[in-house]
Amino acid sequence: MKEPPFHKLTPRAIRVWQWSNSIRSLFFFIIPVVYAAIFGMDGFHKWIVVSLAVIVFIAWLLSIFLMPYLSWKNWRYAIDENEIDLKRGVIFKTRTLIPLSRVQHVDTRQGPLLGSYDLASVTISTAATTHEIPALDEVLADRVRQQISTYARLAEEDV
């Protein structure tokens, strides 16, 4: 299969993911807390609570210091006049092909976190699915959106 010129995301994406993961993964600390609330901390249960807490803490560290880097390393996107090609996934690797003639609309989105790093994400919707290229430089995101919508108009067909 012919390989189109793939692009990487901005390295600043790693920073954004570190922040968002550090908050999101905090929720896993609920597991040992709930366990302690139900079974108490006596004897045997104390060890389970502690080991759960340690596991969650390690997972939290990994989700901050390892996963963002690996996701960034594995993310690739390619756009040309015929299709959008997305490659992603650290453990489960997925490759998705979206013919441009199926693209219904393209958005750029920017939350406060992405905004503070001057990043934006590009969302591509077809009649069936929605895909996202996360964390591009905002100028680049706008250009990508422009590019996709121009190509999509050229490739226009009915559903």
Partner: protein, 501 residues
């Protein structure tokens, strides 16, 4: 027709019943909570609730206005928040005139207007007289055919009711469809939910004692077995009659540009599917129906022509002999290539199929067997799971023709999907670490279906085949013909689809 009109007042009633039907579970729970309270009696709760719904229905009716003018329908609705809906005739895809139970009692009809937008809901006028519905239909439809902007060849001029062929479901097959319907499980869960709600009431009464005395059982075990058997029979009857009423009077009308599917004994349902909106054909052979040689056929259609939930899955034919599928499809959808060669997953993925379907069952069985010291017969479940895994492997295939993709797979029922390549919205291949090691991949293809999409998958095929599928979708986008080099090499195991002949 150029000023705003209300619907027939019966719409208030039909809306109230619609609300009841839509919230039936909530209402039942509510009623039983209410029944426990002392201050209000059960009767008051019921009457009050019904009065409330009638008021809501009435308000809805009062605030719903429609106007047809210059090929444009304008609907104002909403009790507090006013919503204005404008539909122009060239956006309107389908106008369906149907009649539910309430409409039929009063000799009225319901008019549904559907547009092409992927997310736009259908506009629906719930109760009007048939004459007026026909008038609206004429006003919104006639002109479009005159201008003929839908078809570029322009030469053909079709008459509204040009039915080329009508196919109906024989009674024998209707009965088989009803008795093997998959809604059995759903019926069982509904009964379970209702029963868990009313169980406290029953156990206080003498009902159990009564049952205990009439059932021919001597022990508690026997009693429970009889009770469970009773439940199953009841659920089966429910699903039997449910299917019978839903799919009775089934008929399929083939027209020049569209298919009209109508069904239902008490409540008539009609779906109109224009040929150019069909996204995929999907044939499903249920686990009970397959050994009997029967299957059902679904269509995936863009925009919500399917059910109220906004999926575009339409039952095209409820039950058909496998041998007759090809001739039926050839007649109705001749532009789909149905017979083609397909590739099976390689031998090395068999173990993955078996492992996937077996390991959970085996773990649970082992655990239960160990702790509760049950009969050795329990180990039949893992053995069944192995067979199931093998069946799944055996029924998985991935094929492609000039303009078509075929994905065959099995969960409980065996499903064969025919998808035009140009209808594919996106295609993905994915690999887990183990698949990467074995050079396998899973393929997922999305087509548009109603408001959302529908995906078809095959698992653990050769990575190379997955890449070929992607490449074909890519080439389809470029609008060139397929390279000869993509034709599959011959040393691979090729099966002939669909294999029903």
């Amino acid at each position: 027709m150029s000023d705003f009109k209300r619907q027939h007042p019966v719409a208030a009633l039909s809306r109230a019943f619609g609300l009841i039907r839509g919230n039936i579970v909530t209402i039942i729970v509510f009623l039983f909570v209410g029944a426990q309270s002392e201050s209000f009696s059960f009767l008051w709760w019921t009457l009050g609730g019904f009065a409330f719904l009638l008021i809501v229905g009435f308000a809805n009716w009062w605030r719903f206005l429609y106007k047809v003018e210059d090929g444009l329908i304008h609907i104002k609705s909403g009790i507090f928040v006013r919503k204005n809906l404008y539909l122009t005739k060239d956006r309107i895809q389908v106008i369906d005139i149907t009649a539910g139970i309430i409409q039929r009692i009063f000799g009225l009809v319901q008019l549904d207007i559907q547009t092409a937008g992927a997310s736009s809901r259908a506009a629906s006028i719930e109760a009007i007289t048939r004459d007026r519905a026909e008038a609206i239909n004429r006003l919104l439809r006639r002109k479009r055919e005159d201008s003929g902007e839908e078809d570029n060849d322009g030469a053909e001029f079709e008459i509204e009711d040009d039915i080329k062929q009508t196919i109906s479901l024989p009674n024998k097959e209707l009965l088989i469809a009803a008795s093997t319907s998959g809604s059995f499980g759903i019926a069982l869960s509904v009964i379970g939910t209702v029963f868990s709600q009313i169980e406290p009431l029953i156990s206080e009464s003498q009902f159990y004692d009564y049952l205990y005395s009439i059932l021919p059982s001597q022990t508690d075990t026997m009693f429970y077995i009889a009770l469970i058997a009773g439940f199953i029979v009841f659920a089966w009857l429910l699903s039997f009659f449910g299917t019978l009423f839903n799919y009775g009077n089934f008929s399929l009308e083939i027209k020049e540009k569209e298919i009209v599917i109508s069904r239902g004994i008490f409540e008539k349902k009609r779906s109109t599917v224009p040929f150019n909106r069909i996204q995929a054909i999907h044939i499903s052979e249920g686990i009970i129906r397959q050994p009997l040689g029967y299957a059902s056929i679904h269509l995936e259609s863009a925009a919500g022509y399917g059910d109220d939930r906004g999926t575009g899955s339409i039952l095209f034919f409820p039950l058909i002999k496998r041998k007759r599928i090809l001739s039926l499809l050839d007649e109705v959808l001749p532009d789909y290539q149905k017979e083609l060669a397909a590739l099976k997953p390689p031998n090395r993925s068999l173990r993955r199929y078996i492992f996937r379907s077996t390991f959970l069952v085996t773990a649970v069985t082992a655990g239960v067997w160990w702790w509760f010291d049950l009969n050795v017969l329990m180990w039949i479940f893992p053995i069944l799971a192995i067979i199931w895994g093998w069946l799944k492997y055996n029924d998985t295939a991935l094929g492609w023709g000039d303009d078509i993709l075929v994905l065959q797979s099995r969960n409980l029922s065996k499903s064969t999907a025919y998808i035009k390549k140009k209808r594919v919205q996106d295609a993905s291949i994915s690999q887990s670490p183990f698949q990467r090691y074995r050079n396998l991949c899973s393929v997922q293809v999305y087509v548009a279906s109603g408001d959302r999409g529908k995906s078809f998958n095959v698992r653990d095929v050769e990575l190379e085949d997955g890449l070929t599928v992607l490449e074909q979708i890519r080439i389809e986008g470029v609008n060139t013909t397929i390279d000869e080099s993509l034709e599959s090499e011959t040393e691979r195991q090729v099966i002939q689809l669909p294999g029903w002949a």
